[in-house]
Symmetry: C2
Subunit: 174 residues, 2 copies
């Protein structure tokens, strides 16, 4: 009876260890929760221009897309996939009419960045972000807080539609 | 008779020198033709972001405004007037719908840079460009040719309306 009790405890322990290890095992193979960018990369406002973007509808957004040196080099040389170390950032603002410009033009036609809305990042690290195509996605509201997990889980499935350009939508503006 | 001849030659020489000097004198006081930027400044595509801009109407333009190091420093520190050496460049593109983005968003809302249209510069040199508020204005079409004089003469009178910000319309996007 005591031996059976030891055996059962032993089985329970092994099962517990296996259960404990499974998520870790899965994580290194990209089968569990994706990892997001939770710290704003340093110096992003000094990155160089990739392109600009205007979204109507609910987004009502005017934005700039910038890249660090690794990103700019890859874009200009057409390197795909983007190398580890690539950082792409999208600075988003409200698409706001400029009354001052309109007055000078003599008609309503001019739109400029209004209040900032959010900043989004794509950071390439093929190991760390293996679960999401090698890209870490980041979203920060104007108070610097990262996006909630429910929002963050929408990034990869959408970007994954752009396989031909390594999940990157924005193209380089000459 | 010979003395009168010498005198006349002398008067003619002085008059000639005065006539020769007058335009130069006028130029240093900004009273003659404005000077425009006729050579594209080197490295402008590596300048950092000041802001972005969208113009509807005839311009139908999506653009980025970049600045060299002197410009970015002045913008961030609020330095007015902008120091000599400031270079501001506006890269203009057609405001073009992105069918690819619209397909992914599931509706028509996304606009990106289409074909480039022109590149415009403001270069600060308070001596060289004294006739136009210390700014040299430049406009280059996609083939690199500078704008015709009739077009170039429209820059300063328009920018001169923005005296409070040293003739610069574009404000810094955070």
């Amino acid at each position: 009876m005591r031996q059976i009790a030891f055996l059962l405890v032993g089985i329970a322990m092994v099962a517990g260890i296996v259960a404990y290890m499974l998520p870790a095992f899965g994580q290194t193979h990209g089968e569990t929760a994706p990892i997001f960018v939770t710290k704003i990369p340093l110096g992003y406002r000094d990155f160089r221009l990739i392109s600009v973007a205007h979204e109507e509808g609910n987004l009502n957004s005017l934005g700039a897309v910038l890249g660090n040196d690794v990103a700019i080099k890859a874009y200009r040389e057409g390197t795909l996939p983007y190398p580890n170390g690539t950082i792409i950032v999208a600075l988003h603002y409200r698409h706001a009419p400029s009354e001052e410009n309109d007055r000078i033009f003599g008609r309503a036609q001019s739109f400029v960045p209004g209040p900032p809305t959010n900043i989004q990042f794509m950071v390439k690290d093929s190991q760390k972000y293996a679960a999401t195509g090698g890209w870490g996605f980041g979203h920060f509201s104007t108070d610097g807080k990262p996006g909630a997990e429910a929002l963050m889980r929408t990034c990869f499935p959408c970007h994954a539609q752009e396989k031909a350009r390594d999940l990157v939508f924005t193209q380089y503006a000459p």
